[in-house]
Every structure is written in structure tokens, then in C-alpha cells.
């Protein structure tokens, strides 16, 4: 607004510079599969790497599709699909070094894949047999976190631990480590997430805040969380923020690699907004037709993260039919294994939970366990 009598337009003079203006988006591979130049970023990998990405993308999507099917058939209680976000997850996941650590939400199946977590382990939470079936220390991939934003503070703290362990800014590429925190557009409204920005910036902790802006927080569009491009949030906390085409695996890889490198070198946090779209429902319990138009979906279908890589590989004859067939059948095998593994997942035993609460068990809890065991026995095995 202009305010003549006060002679100043606060918004114009002191407002966010980029307000309104279309933010620039880092893109290295167009939806049509053409490489694009960018003044700051370039993909430094080989064709082999691109084929690897393609494989990751396809397998990740296949895992996701199978899990969705398993839920439909009642084998999972719920599933949070990553459909449409494969490139953001594979690109960032493949940018990590083994010594880096990732803190996921509940949707990072593609990152888990890149870290080497057995996809079957991911199903436990959704099947209701456990609440986190893998050991985060095995692949430096944290447990899924359902409380929105909570894991971003864990990431900042873990990064502070890396600083104290002397594995930041040593110059030794095999030693220097960083943390990547995953979260969604909706999560940026949580106090915890903003506090994690503060801790990370004040302590200059090696964290990459990787936000997958899939345009929706269940039924709420991005406008309910911010009125400026999300990546600009970082400017308010004193570290770089940038937006990358979240459906472009090459761009996501290049940008995340640079951000992680920056963190490892001791230059502190970076906010990466991966601009993408949630192609499916929020979860299998959700019905998006209640709140969004199919036009939007059609529009984003044209930006599919896998199609563009396939087009790129084919156009340049960088992969032949055998390659694509091989990946396809590998995907089918993986899916079959996943299904088989899911169906044969053992149910937990209720008596075990009493031993998982504390490291040093309490008499009280042990007594409860024994009493309950005796109680269950009294039904001659009908319960137990």
C-alpha cells in the first residue's frame, strides 16, 4: 500500500524484495528430457550415474505402488505415498556420503532406498507390527517421525554432535559429515522447525534443511503456510535458501550435493526447497477429491520425474531397451519380494513391549508383565 501522508511505503522499501516476483528455480533437466544450463549448478555425474538414478526412481516408485496395493488389500493399515516426489528424494539421497545422517518424515521411502534400508523394514510401521523396524545406526537413516517437524531439531542437535566430534570442516572428504533434515511445506509452520533454523544458524551446524514442497499439507494448500516462496524463509534466519525443481533428479542432486558439501566444510546450514507435487492422496486414508481439482494433477503429470530421465536417456541413446527391460523386471522382482516379505512379517508379541520401554527395567513394569502373562495363560492360549 502507498501511504502519502507518511511519505513511505513500508512494504516496498522494507518488504521482502522477491515478494510477488516469480522465484527462480534451479532446473538442469527439462520435463522434455533436455539438459539445461544453470549459472551456478551443473550435474557432475556420469551417464552411468544417470542410469543409476533412473533405476532408483523406478524401483522407488514400484516399492511405493506395491505398498499402496498392500494397503488396499488390508495388509497395511495405512500408507503415505511418495508418488511424484521420487526425484527430490533420490536426487538428495544420492548426494549423501555414508557418514552423513538423514532425519526423515514418514514419506521418505526414496531416501531410505538410497541409504540402503531394506524396503520391507519400512512397512512395519504402516502394517502396525512396529514403530520403526530398522536401526538408524546401520545406514545413518533415522526413524520415521510422525509428529510434524520434531525431527528437524533432532537433526540440528545431531549436527551439533558432529561438530563436537570434530568431523566438520577438517578438509578430509571421507571424514567431514553433515546432516540432512527432511520435512514438508506444512511443517514449516511448526515452532520446532523454526527453532531448528535458529539453533542451526546460531551454532553454524552442518545441516541441510530439505523441504519437499509438494503444494499440500493434507487438504491445506501452500497458501495456508506462507505468502512468499518457502525457500525465502531461510533469509530470515541468516543462511542461504534456494528453490530447486523437485521433479528434476539432476538438479536435486547437484543442489543437495553443494549444500551438503557446504555444511561439511563448516559453512553452516542451507535451506533447499524442492518444488514438487503430491500426485497421490495424503495417505491411503485421504480423499483429495474433496479439496483439490484434477486440473492441477494433469498439469503436474507433464512434469513427471521419471519420464524426463527416460526421455533423456533414450534421446541420447544412453540406454537401450535391455536396460529399461532389466530395470522393469528388477522392479517387479523387488515388488514381489516386498509383498512376500510383508505377508510373512511376524506380529509382535505383546509381552515384549514391557522390555522395550527402559534400558534399566523397572520392578513395576516387570510385575505388570508377569501378571499379564499369567492372565493371558488363564485363557489357555486363546489370547497369547
Amino acid at each position: 500500500m502507498s501511504d502519502p501522508d507518511l511519505g513511505t511505503d513500508l512494504g516496498a522499501v522494507f518488504g521482502p524484495t522477491a515478494e510477488g516476483a516469480e522465484p527462480e528455480l534451479v532446473q538442469l533437466l527439462t520435463p522434455e528430457g533436455e539438459l539445461r544450463e544453470h549459472p551456478e549448478f551443473s550435474f557432475d555425474g556420469s551417464t552411468e550415474d544417470v542410469r543409476g538414478f533412473y533405476r532408483d526412481l523406478v524401483l522407488t516408485r514400484r516399492i511405493d505402488a506395491e505398498a499402496t496395493a498392500l494397503q488396499r488389500q488390508g495388509e497395511l493399515g495405512i500408507w503415505a505415498s511418495l508418488l511424484g516426489q521420487e526425484a527430490a528424494q533420490v536426487g538428495s539421497g544420492r548426494a549423501m556420503q555414508p557418514q552423513d545422517f538423514a532425519f526423515p518424515t514418514y514419506r521418505e521411502h526414496g531416501v531410505a532406498w538410497c541409504r540402503g534400508v531394506d524396503p520391507l523394514r519400512l512397512l512395519g510401521l504402516f502394517r502396525g507390527v512396529d514403530q520403526g523396524g530398522w536401526d538408524p545406526r546401520d545406514d545413518n537413516f533415522g526413524l520415521y517421525t510422525i509428529v510434524i517437524g520434531a525431527q528437524t531439531l533432532h537433526a540440528a542437535g545431531y549436527a551439533m554432535g558432529m561438530q563436537r566430534d570434530g568431523v566438520v570442516g577438517t578438509g578430509d572428504p571421507d571424514r567431514d559429515a553433515a546432516v540432512i533434515a527432511y520435512f514438508g511445506d506444512g511443517a514449516t509452520s511448526q515452532g520446532d522447525v523454526n527453532e531448528s533454523f535458529i539453533f542451526a544458524s546460531v551454532f553454524n551446524a552442518p545441516v541441510v534443511f530439505f523441504c519437499q514442497n509438494n503444494q499440500w499439507a493434507i487438504s491445506e494448500p501452500i497458501e495456508r503456510q506462507t505468502r512468499i516462496p518457502l525457500y525465502q524463509r531461510a533469509l530470515g534466519f541468516g543462511f542461504p535458501g534456494l528453490r530447486v525443481d523437485g521433479n528434476d533428479v539432476l538438479a536435486c542432486h547437484a543442489v543437495t550435493k553443494a549444500a551438503l558439501q557446504r555444511a561439511r566444510e563448516g559453512s553452516g546450514p542451507t535451506f533447499v526447497e524442492a518444488y514438487t507435487y503430491r500426485m497421490g492422496a495424503h495417505t491411503t486414508s485421504d480423499d483429495p477429491t474433496r479439496y483439490r481439482l484434477s486440473e492441477e494433477l494433469e498439469h503436474w503429470k507433464l512434469k513427471d520425474p521419471i519420464a524426463r530421465v527416460e526421455a533423456y536417456l533414450k534421446r541420447g541413446d544412453l540406454a537401450d531397451g535391455d536396460f529399461f527391460r532389466a530395470v522393469a523386471s528388477e522392479a517387479d522382482e523387488l515388488a514381489a519380494q516386498l509383498r512376500e516379505g510383508c505377508l510373512s512379517m511376524p506380529d509382535p508379541h505383546v509381552l515384549d513391549i514391557f522390555d522395550q520401554v527402559y534400558g534399566e527395567p523397572t520392578q513395576e513394569l516387570q510385575a505388570q508383565k508377569e501378571q499379564y502373562a499369567a492372565y493371558l495363560e488363564s485363557f489357555e492360549g486363546s489370547h497369547a
Partner: protein, 324 residues
């Protein structure tokens, strides 16, 4: 008279309250177009507009904190917490602001805020979606806490809670959202902060609230077949507790069992047991026994049925009580 689900009854109650008072607002995550993940606010935004049915940013402390400001401005916010496990980010605003504003102001500033919380387990959900945090709010002076067990109460209690000038934490038994009952909207409801005998009996008193009332009633039916007569009381109000009907019943039966999903340790059962024992010590034939969650976090859903109190565990406690 029409047969409605508990969720629908809440929806009708909210609608009635919004029609009756333009100051009533509904706010929360996904309460607008979606109508809430349980559809309790279904259609309200369409009919009352975005100013009165507000899809908020994803921040529970923000929801309760802005509700305090709206209440100070004369509004009556009804805040939806999407699931029990997500009320904790708002805990500070609830216990230090919502609960204390009137006291801080020497009684001057009312906080007519309703905090709706779908609570409890049994729906096969993932972590944080099956919590029972009621005791923590009941322990907090300045708040009032109620729990609904059936569609008829749901319809009336939500309106009574909204009409209250004191903040009310309103617990909804999510696993019972789809249970139906005949609702006569013209039948005068009992006071909001009253408990009620829902089945008469003579041998022992079973006290429950929210989702466990149905379980208690089923236990009473099963017990009857074995010739034991259980009186079942729906506490309905957790803070303040309405001890009248409880004491009367226990003086009659001499025995009491309290049932809830929450961890037994420092759960509502502890307070009820302590008060019953203090107030009818000589009438007790047996100590008040408690049936509830074990002292563990809520388990993976595949074993939740074994974790949750059920008919058998209630009857087992009744047997132990009768054995004294």
C-alpha cells in the same frame, strides 16, 4: 428422532452452536473443505464461510495461542486438535495461558475456548494417533475436562461446552465416531459437568468414560449372564469430577473398578480411587481396582487389542474385587 453417528452428532451440535452465536468459530488443521479427517466439521466452512471455519497453518501452539487472542476479543473458538498425540505442541498455551488467564486477571477475563481432541486407540493407527492424555489436563487447575461416550451426549455436550465461559477440553472417542444412536434434539440434556448411571446393578460399580463406557456395558451384560449384577457409571466429566453418583453407587455395591485406556499410573483411575476411598472408606468391601493401559507407550496397532482394556480384563478386575 433420527439415528446418527457420534461424528455426525458432533457435526450437528457444532452447526447448532454456530447458528446460535455468531461469535463461535471453528479452527484447526483441515477443518475447512476437508471437514476434518473425521468429517466432524463437514460442510461447516461451506455454510459459515472461511472467517468462521478457519483452516490454520500447521501449528498447534499457534492455533491455541491465536484462540486466546480471539477469546480476548470476544470470540468463542472451538479448536480441533487433529489427533490426541498432537496436542502437546500446544501444551504450554493450554496450561499456562488458556487455563490461567481468568485467574491471572482476578477473574476478569473469561476464556470460552473449547479444545476438541479425538482420543484413544483401537482404530489400527500409527504412533501418536491413539493417545489418552486426559489426566494431564484434568490435573491442570483452570481447565474443565469432559469425555463423550455416545452420539446423544456428543450432540448436547459440545453445545454446552461451547456455551461455557470456562475453557473445556473436549475428548471424543475416535473409535466410537461411527457408532449410531437415536437422537432426539428436543430432549433436555443433563448438565455438562455431571456423571450418570448408565446401567443399574448391585454387586459392583464399574466407572468408565469415553470409549470405555461401551466396553464397561458389554462387560456388565456378560457378567449378568454369569449372575453378577454390575452398575455402570459414565463419568462424562473428568474435571470437575461429579462424585455424587459415584459415591452413592459405591456405598450401595461396596466395590468399584475404574476403567480407562490411559496408562494406569497417575491416570484418572488414581484420582477416582483416592476419592472414593477417602469418601466412603467404611463402605468399601475391596480396594478400588483400576483397569487401564500398561506403563508403556501405546504399542503398534497389531497388538493394541491386547493392550487395551477389554471386556475380559474388566471382568477379571471385577472378579478380583469380588474375591475380597
Amino acid at each position: 428422532m433420527s439415528s446418527v453417528t457420534l461424528a455426525k452428532a458432533l457435526n450437528s451440535g457444532l452447526r447448532a452452536a454456530m447458528e446460535a452465536d455468531p461469535k463461535v468459530l471453528v479452527m484447526g488443521e483441515d477443518v475447512g473443505k476437508l471437514g476434518g479427517v473425521f468429517r466432524v466439521t463437514d460442510g461447516l466452512q461451506k455454510d459459515f464461510g472461511e472467517d468462521r471455519v478457519v483452516d490454520t497453518p500447521l501449528a498447534e501452539s499457534g492455533i491455541l495461542g491465536t484462540a486466546v487472542g480471539l477469546a480476548l476479543r470476544g470470540y468463542r473458538p472451538v479448536c480441533e486438535i487433529q489427533f490426541d498425540g498432537f496436542v502437546y505442541p500446544a501444551y504450554d498455551q493450554i496450561v499456562s495461558q488458556v487455563a490461567k488467564m481468568r485467574f491471572r486477571s482476578l477473574g476478569r477475563l473469561p476464556m470460552p475456548i473449547v479444545i476438541r481432541i479425538p482420543f484413544g486407540g483401537g482404530i489400527g493407527a500409527v504412533e501418536h494417533h491413539s493417545e489418552s492424555p486426559e489426566a494431564q489436563f484434568a490435573h491442570t487447575a483452570g481447565l474443565k475436562v469432559v469425555a463423550v461416550s455416545n452420539p446423544v451426549d456428543a450432540y448436547f455436550m459440545i453445545q454446552q461446552a461451547i456455551a461455557s465461559d470456562d475453557p473445556v477440553v473436549f475428548f471424543e472417542p475416535k473409535r466410537r465416531y461411527w457408532e449410531k444412536a437415536e437422537l432426539d434434539e428436543s430432549a433436555p440434556p443433563p448438565p455438562l459437568f455431571s456423571s450418570r448411571v448408565v446401567r443399574e446393578g448391585t454387586d459392583a460399580t464399574v466407572l468408565a468414560y469415553g470409549p470405555m463406557v461401551k466396553t464397561a456395558l458389554e462387560a456388565a451384560i456378560a457378567a449378568a449372564e454369569e449372575g453378577r449384577s454390575l452398575e455402570v457409571i459414565d463419568l462424562r466429566t473428568l474435571s470437575p469430577l461429579d462424585m455424587g453418583p459415584v459415591l452413592e453407587s459405591v456405598r450401595k455395591t461396596g466395590r468399584a473398578v475404574v476403567v480407562h485406556e490411559a496408562t494406569v499410573n497417575l491416570g484418572m483411575g488414581a484420582e477416582v480411587a483416592a476419592r472414593v476411598t477417602e469418601q466412603c472408606f467404611y463402605a468399601l468391601e475391596a480396594p478400588v481396582l483400576r483397569v487401564g493401559g500398561f506403563d508403556t507407550p501405546y504399542p503398534p496397532s497389531r497388538i493394541e487389542e491386547e493392550y487395551l482394556p477389554d471386556l475380559d480384563r474388566v471382568l477379571d478386575a471385577v472378579d478380583r474385587s469380588l474375591a475380597y
